[in-house]
Symmetry: C7
Subunit: 100 residues, 7 copies
């Protein structure tokens, strides 16, 4: 997923494209729609500049474009952009980064 | 939309004129009134000076007149000015800027 | 409306005299009482000195006597003074200033 | 009303003696008990030293003994002292000072 | 009431022994139990060291052992110590000090 | 009660072993189970290092191992350790220290 | 339990693998499923970098990989990773560290 060309989140917001939901179980069995749990992993496609703290210093976001991240179960604002379903999170709400 | 001549928002407030709602689908079909979703994009027509932080420094707004911005689904104060429907947001509530 | 002679608001409070409600429509038709919406514009007749921030610096109000301002839809404390209906707002609650 | 001799409020508290309620209308007509609105004006009879801010500086109260002040409609702790009904407010809750 | 020998409140807490409730009216008439209002005056019998502010400075309590103070109507933790009913307040909740 | 050897509370937490509940009245009469009030006194068996304030300085706990302390009526997390019932409090919630 | 290779928590989050629940009582008797209380002990398998305070300094987490910690009764986000049930806590919510 290339970085989003024409949209820049503001402040400490991070734009995420979620991984596609696994439609087959590990054994290769097709999963019924209902059992497709929430997708809680995604790729960073754009980040804001970060927040300015009380001292006036800019604290950049802790993730960068291309990072694979673990998402919280709740929160995230859904945006439809470039025919894609993207989600806007605050940097501080992201749980962690996959490093492999 | 020219910048608003005679009104200056205060503090970190930003005055927005929303894009007109798309009345036709991409295929050119006239959309029924009910299906016109919320317009969540708009143009900045005026900004306040920003907020003063605890150190006494002025932190200007992160957007400027003419920027095209993504709006949150909720919030915004509706104002009728110069026969237009304008909306006042806090700078921090704006989601992002379209950069093309 | 001359500045109020004998009353000085405290801290960041601003005393406002609201514009008179328009009793005729633009076409000159007398408006029924019920349709007189809230008056959300007014003139600053007195301001407090401002607030002292954590550093001990005085941050003056962002408006001054004579400014024409846009008021929020809610809030404001009604005071009867010098036979006038005046309203006390916090500086931070005022939406913007008319600059023409 | 002389300053209260033997009681010193603490921190940013201010002790107020309210003006007597007007029992006659401007035309001299005796007002029925029920119509005696709240008295929202009073005289400062004692003040605390003020609050210490995060830097350790003492920020004195913005009013002094003898000031005539406008009181908020709600709040204030009623104290019976020296056979008088006095009220204790926080400095920050007082609306303004009469300067004539 | 001598200072409490063997108990030291922590932080900005102040230990108070309340004045005995007046059992007779000013005219000398014995007051029925029900009419004995709350006792809102007391003597300081022990104080904590105070609180440390964000700068790391210790801000001592504003009252000292032996001070006669006005208590708020609500709050205060009742402790039974040395066969006495004592009350623990935060320094900031005390209303004022009697200075005669 | 020796200090707890193998457990170190984190931040400003303090581990307390409560005094045993008095089972006899002062006159030596055995107290019925129901009348055994809450035990609000205990001994400090372990403390955390304290909290780091906004300046980055470590503010140690105000009590140390071996102190006899007065506990608040509510709060405290019960832990079973070394076959004992211990309680974890925040340093700031402890009411005072017995100094004899 | 080796440190988790490919996942790095963000900010002050700490990833924990809980101890297995004791299935036998101390006397060796098999415990019924229902009586298996909550497991409130676990091992740190990954930590975030910590939080940046208002001064812009990074305050690292107070625990490190391999520490055995006491968990609060509530809170913690369950994550399924590498076929394991792991839990994400905030550093500040961890109660203490076992030091033997």
């Amino acid at each position: 997923m290339a970085a989003l060309r024409n949209f820049k989140p503001l402040f400490d917001r991070v734009l995420i494209e979620k991984f596609a939901a696994a439609t087959k179980s590990k054994g290769g069995v097709l999963l019924p729609e209902a059992s497709l749990g929430k997708v809680l992993k995604g790729t960073v496609v754009a980040t804001g500049p970060g927040n300015v703290n009380e001292k006036g210093d800019l604290i950049p976001t802790s993730v960068k474009v291309g990072d694979k991240v673990m998402l919280p179960e709740y929160g995230g604002t859904k945006l439809n952009m470039e025919d894609k379903e993207l989600y806007l999170y605050r940097d501080g709400d992201l749980l962690g980064v996959f490093t492999d």
